[in-house]
Symmetry: C2
């Protein structure tokens, strides 16, 4: 729980922290467990206590990884969360994974009781946005080699956490190309 608190974008008074903690749900998934799948509505934000979540979508029968959520970070499917439309993403545990779950409705209810907590909501959005920004810059790097080196530089934990074949689609290149790029 301390890691959750530390990951919040703003410091909290003990009273506010009590309120927030009361709406946190502990959830666990085993390896391969599906946290979210296409067609469902996403109405929650996940905090990774330990383990690893993979976001992916299917494109012409192939899985394309769009994000990996590492321990200590928040994640969700924005598009669905914001619009409350059904998602097109899969969210899957790559290892046994423990989460704290924040439901949107609970969070909105909390805002009624303590408007200061709205700053948390904004802050979480900003964190998630910053993640997206990094992701975008990655994909705009020209060559396969540049993309790999960009991850090496900006997200070294990711290289340790995910197998090469999963990384490939995240970089937008084939598994073989990643292998070759890495060996140089």
């Amino acid at each position: 729980m301390d890691s959750f608190r530390a990951a919040l974008p703003v410091p909290l008074t003990p009273a506010h922290w009590q309120l927030l903690r009361a709406i946190l749900l502990p959830v666990a998934f085993s390896k391969g467990g599906q946290v979210l799948r296409p067609g469902q509505r996403c109405d929650r934000i996940y905090f990774i206590r330990h383990g690893l979540l993979r976001h992916y979508l299917l494109h012409e029968g192939k899985e394309i990884n769009t994000h990996f959520a590492l321990p200590g970070t928040f994640t969700t499917d924005f598009a669905s969360l914001a619009s409350q439309q059904p998602t097109t993403l899969y969210l899957e545990a790559m290892e046994p994974t423990a989460l704290w779950v924040l439901r949107r409705a609970d969070m909105l209810g909390l805002y009624e009781r303590a408007a200061e907590l709205q700053a948390i909501g904004r802050g979480l959005m900003e964190q998630l946005l910053a993640q997206q920004q990094v992701r975008l810059e990655l994909l705009l790097r020209g060559s396969a080699a540049e993309r790999y080196r960009y991850v090496q530089l900006r997200q070294p934990e990711l290289l340790r956490a995910v197998p090469l074949r999963q990384l490939a689609s995240y970089l937008g290149v084939s598994r073989e190309t990643v292998s070759r790029v890495r060996s140089v």
Copy 2:
């Protein structure tokens, strides 16, 4: 101003609208005018009244367009706005462009006086996030042709608004390839 109000993520009471309108700044740029450049801190959100803004970054001497902001939409550099670190982006008017500017500090000040307005801040973030999501999906589509068709389908106004040359780096392909893909 009506278009601005219409673009807000939540409906406003007349009283709240008065408060918000008081902090809006009208700003105009001529063709080629720089709204933001690397090294500056971005502390504002822009609403496009008319005209067109281009976001780009330099990568090995070449300009790479990361976003085009069309009339009726909000835009900003998140990464800089959220972190208050200097930006690495250029934001430039491609035509004579008129904006409403919302300064972060003014907005935060408003939250103190009317906590309900925080919902606007969150809503804007969500809109911007949804834009990013579309952008990401675009870049993950495999081929040059798929990317072009994706824009045709999802952002047809964009094709009308920006010249092919500028679209190329946005799609992550060369100008010539866009030309060939389009001719089929």
